[in-house]
């Protein structure tokens, strides 16, 4: 058996090997640059999507979350702790618009279970694709948010206007010092025909279609038996045929508001107003005892939008 030795590579073969290595190295560099270029192209293609599409969409989602937080707060009667427990931190899908998550916190002590000590901070985070945006708004309760729509609710300046009988021939209205609160109240002397006393609203546009309004009043009379008191809102508006129509909304039904003789009694109620037409033209509040023969005294009439809670003011 003979042993064969491997001959050493020639100079030409060594050069050729070196050339192969160089080519491989060059290919490696080219591939790396190519991959980097592809990556850059991908980022470049994705960036406009991120900036033009997803960023603003995420902000809109955050804004929608903030609005829905307000909706839930009103729906929940402004029970901040209950709303925070039921909906806070819950990610909700907005079909076609990403998703949102909102949280409620008390800026004073971070604890809503003991009521609102400071401001109510609503933080809403919206997400769309790879983008995420957060909006924070702070609110304070607004007890006076929905004001009394009547300009003369209790005759405090000893003036009767704008209260008046809808038909002046049916009775008279004057002020009296027999008041429930303050110095004066309104005294109605009926002629026994139709006892509708009206207060036109200074700004009828404050009555909004679809909203609920609540009314209260203090009433007294001297009759021996209880008398029901009705309070209603009379709305005049332009109808679909551009004529004027009138709709009447019973805010407080007489059957629900019996007033015994001789004592100040609070009457009231609420109702949602609605009509189908164009702009509202006039609106007035009417108060009427069921028994047209009974003279009444009334005071502190209050008509306002049913805010269903304190409302919120954006800080």
């Amino acid at each position: 058996m003979t042993r064969r030795s491997i001959p050493p590579p020639s100079v030409t073969a060594r050069r050729r090997g070196a050339l192969y290595v160089m080519v491989l190295f060059a290919a490696l560099i080219t591939s790396t640059l190519g991959l980097a270029a592809v990556r850059v192209v991908g980022v470049e293609a994705a960036t406009p999507t991120m900036t033009a599409e997803e960023g603003p969409a995420a902000r809109l989602a955050a804004r929608a979350g903030l609005e829905i937080a307000q909706f839930r707060l009103k729906q929940g009667g402004y029970d901040y702790a209950a709303v925070a427990t039921a909906y806070g931190g819950v990610t909700t899908q907005l079909p076609g618009a990403g998703s949102y998550t909102f949280t409620l916190t008390d800026t004073d002590d971070d604890d809503l279970s003991d009521g609102l000590q400071g401001l109510l901070r609503v933080t809403s985070t919206g997400t769309s694709g790879r983008a995420s945006r957060t909006i924070t708004a702070e609110f304070t309760p607004d007890a006076g948010r929905w004001p009394n729509l009547l300009t003369n609710p209790g005759a405090e300046t000893a003036a009767v206007s704008p209260w008046a009988f809808t038909d002046p021939a049916n009775g008279t209205i004057a002020t009296t010092t027999d008041a429930y609160s303050g110095a004066y109240a309104f005294a109605v002397d009926t002629y026994g025909i139709d006892t509708e006393i009206a207060h036109p609203l200074a700004n009828a546009e404050e009555i909004i279609d679809g909203e609920r309004y609540v009314v209260t009043a203090r009433v007294k009379h001297a009759a021996a038996t209880p008398v029901g008191v009705r309070i209603r809102l009379v709305i005049q508006y332009t109808n679909l045929f551009f004529f004027t129509s009138t709709t009447t909304v019973d805010l407080a039904a007489s059957a629900d508001n019996p007033v015994p003789g001789g004592v100040w009694t609070e009457v009231g109620g609420s109702a949602e107003v609605s009509w189908v037409g164009y702009g509202i033209k006039d609106a007035s509040l009417e108060i009427e005892p069921e028994d047209d023969t009974v003279d009444i005294v009334f005071d502190d009439v209050d008509l306002r939008l049913d805010g269903d809670g304190p409302g919120l003011i954006l800080q």
Partner: protein, 175 residues
């Protein structure tokens, strides 16, 4: 041909392989270049479309949820919708479209010739936002669709509620 001559130079197979490789690379690079060019064109179109959609949504969101004066169901009377100056609540935009998109006073926008825009406002179930309902329960879905000259649709959607801050101007300024 002696052995050293055979080793010098490149073989036909190596030349063929190199040609195929270079050809593939060239084809791939051309395709990539074309794709990048197309991406860029669509990216410009997308940015322009969403700029218009966002602008229009901001305009819509600056209006109240319900009509403060004329509660005519869901629509402003159609003959009155010849431009957006009379729109005073979000509902008025429902089923309203422009081609080409217009300024608020009805003048065509020269920068969006051959584009179109349409608006949809629907009442949705507050507990199931994907469900469109007939009665108003306090939440509406607002959608703006911008269509490019190439026929591509770009959609922006958001949701508004009845119990948002009532002063829209105040709301817009703060948010």
């Amino acid at each position: 041909m002696n052995r050293s001559c055979r080793r010098r130079g490149v073989t036909l197979i190596e030349v063929a392989a190199s040609t195929v490789l270079v050809g593939l690379l060239l084809t791939a690079s051309l395709k990539t270049t074309a794709a990048v060019t197309r991406w860029r064109a669509i990216g410009v179109e997308r940015a322009k479309a969403f700029a218009l959609a966002d602008e229009r949504l901001q305009e819509m969101l600056s209006h109240p949820y319900s009509d403060p004066e004329s509660p005519l169901g869901q629509y402003l009377w159609v003959p009155l919708r010849y431009n957006r100056l009379l729109f005073d609540d979000i509902d008025d935009y429902h089923d309203y479209s422009e081609s080409p998109p217009e300024e608020v006073n009805g003048v065509d926008r020269a920068d969006y010739a051959d584009w179109s825009i349409r608006h949809d406002v629907h009442r949705v179930d507050p507990d199931n936002l994907s469900s469109v309902i007939g009665s108003d329960q306090g939440v509406r879905r607002v959608r703006v669709t911008v269509t490019s000259p190439a026929g591509r649709d770009y959609v922006r959607t958001t949701y508004v509620t009845r119990d948002r801050i009532r002063s829209s101007a105040e709301y817009s300024q703060n948010l």
